[in-house]
Structure formats: structure tokens, C-alpha cells
Symmetry: none
Subunit: 154 residues, 2 copies
Amino acid sequence: MSTFIGDYECKVDEKGRVLFPSSLRKQVKSESPNKFVVKKDIYEECLVLYPMEEWELQTAIIRHNTNPYNKEHNLFIREFFRGTAEVTLDSNGRLLLPKRLLEMVGIGRDIVMAGMNGKIEIWAKEKYETAQLGSSDFANLAERILGSTPLKDE
Amino acid sequence: MSTFIGDYECKVDEKGRVLFPSSLRKQVKSESPNKFVVKKDIYEECLVLYPMEEWELQTAIIRHNTNPYNKEHNLFIREFFRGTAEVTLDSNGRLLLPKRLLEMVGIGRDIVMAGMNGKIEIWAKEKYETAQLGSSDFANLAERILGSTPLKDE
DNA sequence: CCCACTTTTTTACACTTTGTTGATAACTTT
DNA sequence: AAAGTTATCAACAAAGTGTAAAAAAGTGGG
């Protein structure tokens, strides 16, 4: 499974195409290394890019944790799949991102692609920078999440 | 696992490359001894360099103790991965540090690489020197941290 | 203690890969 | 068929990578 790391500034051309940075490309370990799924993030004003294999893992997680006969779950599932798109790398190693999605998260010309374990987030550059937490906020958050219980390292 | 000691003055060339000091290289004990991850430090104006193995240990801990569908956890993961990059030693034993990161911590030509257990800090030389605590401040800090309770040695 | 030798560091240059842009061709949709 | 969208290609610019040689620093033997 791919684990991505590193954030890269990239540019979107007027057709909505982004060159997928070569260092990220090298980190893709997937059966079909040029198929991806993009999607609006659930919580933040950004897009999320999954290699196809990782996406399938995510949908499996959803399947196993929901019951389509439960009305609320069904609602959730519909929303979860709304605004997803399959994208492929073209012959130049670029991804064509649907205009619709770009608009949803306010992406213009400058973006940041940020590797985060199994997925890659795509942000409008300004938003990525202003979304940054102060170091003390981060410290508090870290302590709340990792600081309480004994850590599992496996 | 590598434990680094010693601080070394190094120079960055105009392309952002740093010769990894030979004495530090000898201290690397890792599966892939020429792969590293650099990252902006959380608290200080410096970069931190982890041997890949050490980094993977860190991310494994994070992966197993967080759930990316939890909003706060996801926020934490994003901050954790912000400003990271994978770097490798080239054929001359140099590391190419991303310009973006060098700018973030005000590194020009002269830097200090300082071993600190599992990681190596990279400072702009001037900042490293001015960041030094006065000896009495340091003494107070030492006493507060180590001086109260009986010490554990394992 | 000095010299010769090895290793490490610095510098410069050439070359390859990656990134950017624009233009054109093929395809869909209306 | 026209308009819009998507794919393919080519050319240039920028960044990254590798090689080599010169300079500096460290090491050991006489």
C-alpha cells in the first residue's frame, strides 16, 4: 500500500490539469499506478486523492461499518460517494481534475499536494497555509490524541 | 536504531545540497541508510532529519493510534505531515534539501547539523548559536527535568 | 615535528529529468 | 456541424543528478 509523504506546490492549468509531482509518483505502490479517485474531503475545504487500490480499501471500510438498510447509514453512503471522480494520469503524467470539484474547494492556479499516509490532499495554496495550526495548538492536539493512553506501536 | 551525537558545521550549495558529514554517516544504522525524511520542526526554527526507518516507526505509531475519519485526528495527521519531504543521499553523499524548507527556517549558506538521539536537527548557523541557552538557564532546566525524582535507567 | 598520504569537503560543469506552456487532434454533446 | 471538452504531442525552461578535479583537513610513520 502506498504511503505518501511530502507536500508539493503545483500549478493547475486553465483546463484543470495538474502535473503529478515525480516524487509522489515514485511513492505510488499500486496495481494500477495511474488510476486514482478524487473526492471532496468530508471535513475540510480540500480534495482528497486516493490511488485506486487505497480507494477500494476505503470503500470496504465503509461497507463493513454501515448497513444500507439503515436509513441514516444510507444517507451517509450517498453523501460519501457524492462528488467522487475517477481520474487517470495522461501521457504526460498529469491529472485532469473535474472543474466542479476545483470550484467546490476554491482552487485557482496554485495548489499544494500533501501526502498523508494512504492519501494525498489537494489544497488551494492559500488555504493550506492559513489552515496551519500554531505550534502550541498542535502540541495540545498531539497530547490529547497521543498523550493519554499507552501507545500501540504495532 | 541510529543514535546521533555531535554537531557539525556544513555548507549548502546554491542548489540546496548539503554534504552529509562522514562522521554522522557512520552513525546511521538503518535498512536503507541513504533514505531520510526532512521536516520543519514543530517548536523551533529548524529542520529535523530522520533516517527512513526511524520515520516509519513514528508514522506507524500515528497510524495505529488515529482514525482518519475522526475530524480532530485528521487535523493532527495533516499537521504532522506538513512540511515534510523524502530525501536521499546522492552519489557524493549529499542531501538535496527542498528550497521551500530551507526558506521556512531561514537557512542560507552556513548550517549546523546536530545529532540528537534518533534524529538530526538542521539549523541556520547563526540561529543555532543564538538559540543556545545561557548556562544558568540550562542548569535550571536540567534540575527541573531530572533533579526531582529518582532516576530510572531502563 | 614534519612530510607524505588518505580521506573528506568544496567547487565547477555537463547532462538528465521534471515542469510548464501552447498548439493541435480526437472525441462528446447538443 | 459547432461548441465544448479531453487527449496527444512538441518545445522550452527550470530543477535535479552525477562526474570529476581541486582544495582542505585529518592520519600515521619516520
